[in-house]
């Protein structure tokens, strides 16, 4: 018998060693096509990191651009505010002012909430006075409003000017009731009867006869541009000096606007907030099967693992501290706890040798593996198998995020997109299941998984929609995305990258000094 067995084995073994057969040409063609596909996948994968970095960069750049544009506006506003603070001169100083050729100061007022500004025109005098004076004028008085950086002409609501014409000191009033784009103003008229008109809208005839009656209040209210250049000329040779001054300080012109000016001109003070959150997340694992040893074994393939694991909704909660260091920019950090539940379909588990040389039934999950040693039956031999029932896997982790945020306030609402990284610590991993053979069954609890890393790095981004209930309390609703940048496994059959999309609700307390 043994000889026959030996003969059979030899015959086949020899044939196996010697046999060669040319495959059909289509094999290489198919292989080539598949390699193309794999290359495309690799290429995609290779640039995924760059893509993420690019998105992050874009996000930060958008923030910077927004911040910069805001700060330019703010700066312009602040200049006006500073100028206003320096106003000390009186009417008498104006009238006593030695005429400087072609100097003109115009006061511009913005919409309520924007600071007032003063500008002296024509590069001759940069005065801190709210008054300006134009002298030595010969023909017409033209007030040009310089366009801002965005090439937008300012809107004129009304203009206030006091004209000193020859022996007459009086106020000229022109009320332009509609907001109009002001390109220039021309002051013309006969002696003692000059009037203002907007040459951009000559047909509208906004000129008013010069008279004592209507020269008290005129205000340039500039809603878009915070700087202005005014040039004044006159055709009237009898006008030896032409000056425009605001009729009244801002407060008396428009008390509400002045109050707003006070508010908005306050310097920003950095502050802290503390928020508590609860979140429901839909989490999934992205599996990568490229461990070099994993070139076979249906149980170990990522598709198989993916198919048998189903993620339930996970829960996370945490405390976040937010430091708002400018009006728009801030960062937040804190601690987040999350609990992920995964249901695992029944599977056959096989006896494998453990690292210490003993043999146990290996229970494989995407997060790691554990060994099962039931009390029933004989000690397992390599290759023996057991059936496991539905299993419940739980992963608990703590994360410490660090995110940069950009804050945009709109009345009682704030909108705060943020992005950053989080360092995550897996603190607990358990699998609960039941194993059975033909005669026995036993409930099993696997505490702790092999092949699982304790720490992994993740990317985190969220958009916080905040309702500011009062100055201290706010309510938040924020969709959140978390994505592991490093794998949570090491030495497992697959590399696993968890990610989740969730919606959080929270409450925020603002610490104000």
């Amino acid at each position: 018998m043994d000889k026959n067995i030996h003969d059979i084995d030899n015959i086949f073994h020899k044939a196996y060693q010697q046999f060669e057969d040319e495959p059909s040409e289509s094999v290489w063609e198919k292989l080539n096509a598949q390699l193309d596909k794999e290359d495309a996948g690799k290429y995609k994968k290779r640039f995924i990191g760059w893509k993420r970095a690019a998105i992050l960069l874009l996000f930060l750049l958008s923030g910077i651009v927004l911040y910069e544009s805001q700060s330019i506006l703010k700066k312009n506003g602040a200049e006006g505010f500073n100028a206003k603070n320096k106003i000390v001169k009186s009417d008498s100083s104006f009238y006593n002012h030695k005429n400087t050729p072609e100097t003109l100061l115009i006061n511009t007022y913005t919409k309520p909430g924007y600071p007032k500004q003063n500008r002296v025109i024509n590069n001759h005098v940069e005065t801190d006075s709210q008054y300006f004076k134009v002298s030595g004028l010969t023909k017409s008085a033209i007030i040009n409003i310089r366009k801002d950086r965005n090439n937008k002409a300012p809107k004129l609501i009304s203009l206030s000017a006091r004209l000193q014409i020859d022996d007459y000191n009086g106020h000229l009033e022109s009320q332009i009731k509609k907001q109009r784009e002001l390109k220039s103003l021309i002051i013309t008229g006969e002696k003692n009867r000059p009037f203002l008109s907007n040459i951009a809208d000559l047909d509208l005839k906004y000129g008013y006869p010069f008279s004592k009656k209507n020269i008290d209040k005129m205000h340039v209210i500039d809603s878009a541009v915070k700087t202005a250049i005014v040039k004044a000329e006159t055709e009237d040779s009898s006008i030896k000096s032409l000056a425009a001054i605001p009729a009244q300080p801002a407060v008396s012109i428009n008390p509400s606007a002045a109050n707003n000016n006070k508010k908005t001109s306050k310097l920003f003070k950095p502050y802290w907030t503390l928020s508590g959150y609860c979140s429901l997340d839909k989490s999934e694992f992205n599996l990568n099967n490229d461990l070099s040893g994993n070139i076979g074994g249906s149980q170990n393939e990522k598709e198989q693992i993916n198919n048998r694991e189903k993620h339930a909704l996970s829960f996370s909660t945490g405390l976040m501290a937010n430091r708002q260091f400018t009006k728009h920019f801030g960062f937040k950090t804190g601690i987040l706890y999350s609990n992920t539940s995964i249901s695992i379909d029944p599977q056959e588990i096989y006896a494998t040798r453990e690292s210490d040389g003993t043999i146990g039934y290996m229970y494989i999950t995407s997060s790691g593996y554990g060994f099962v040693k039931p009390k029933f039956g004989l000690a397992p031999a390599l290759g023996d198998s057991l059936q496991s029932s539905n299993a419940q896997q739980n992963l608990e982790s703590f994360g410490i995020p660090l995110q940069i945020l950009y804050r945009i306030d709109k009345r009682k609402f704030s909108f705060m997109p943020s992005a950053g990284i989080s360092l995550n610590f897996i603190t607990k991993a358990t699998v609960q299941t039941q194993v059975k053979d033909a005669f026995n069954s036993e409930a099993i609890m696997i505490n702790g998984l092999n092949g699982m890393k304790k720490i992994y790095l993740g990317f985190i981004a969220d958009i916080n929609f905040q309702y500011n209930y009062n100055t201290r309390l706010a309510f938040n609703l924020l969709p959140t995305l978390r994505y592991a940048v490093t794998s949570i496994t090491q030495g497992n059959v697959v590399k696993t990258y968890p990610y989740s999309i969730g919606i959080s609700a929270g409450i925020t307390y603002k610490f104000l000094k």
Binding site: I8, D21, V27, L35, Y350
Partner: protein
């Protein structure tokens, strides 16, 4: 079929380097150098030629994927051969319907008859056909035991069956092959 790769040197280190870098000409070269031998391996593990070509294709995908892990100290052909066997195993496992579970092993049932004698010369293609006609689980156990020299414990672990099942399948496979060879021999002598 063979592209411009015939100009490439046959030096294994050169080809390996190219394959690691993903150079398609080197991959083609490597494939065409080993395709016939590996097709020969796959034919033993497959049910037919089409399946063997599928295994060959899967096997080479794995070869190119894991070529960076090849240790230059060992035989490259042996390494590729091992990957082909693994590809065949993977295919076999995925077709679980093929699994024929034999839970008990009875040595008497599987005793090979003493009177049978064999001639040592058989056409290789005929032998492959005989192996291909075996039930997949028998074929796999027989191949792993006889061709790859694995122990029953190792086969059991690879196929996720018990050691007894592995022994039983091997004995059954031998019995079937012996019967087939005897018939063939009689046919030849008559």
């Amino acid at each position: 079929m063979i592209e411009s790769n015939h100009n490439l040197p046959d030096s294994l280190p050169f080809i390996l380097k190219g394959c690691i870098a993903g150079d398609r000409a080197c991959q083609s070269k490597l494939y065409h150098l080993h395709a016939a031998k590996m097709m020969g391996v796959c034919m033993w593990y497959a049910r037919n030629r089409e399946e063997a070509e599928e295994i060959l294709q899967d096997g080479f995908i794995r070869v190119f994927k894991y070529i960076h892990t090849y240790n230059a100290g060992g035989s490259f052909e042996g390494w590729i051969r091992k990957i082909m066997v693994n590809a065949a195993l993977f295919k076999y496992r995925n077709k679980s319907a093929y699994l024929k579970i034999v839970t008990e092993f009875n040595a008497d049932e599987h005793d090979i008859q003493a009177e049978a004698t064999f001639v040592s010369r058989f056409d290789e293609k005929e032998l492959i056909k005989l192996v291909q006609t075996l039930p997949p689980s028998y074929r796999m156990v027989f191949n792993l035991y006889v061709f790859e020299g694995l122990k029953h414990r190792e086969i059991a672990a690879l196929l996720h069956v018990s050691e007894g099942t592995s022994k039983s399948n091997l004995a059954d496979a031998r019995k079937i092959l012996q019967a087939a060879l005897t018939v063939s021999k009689k046919a030849v002598s008559s």
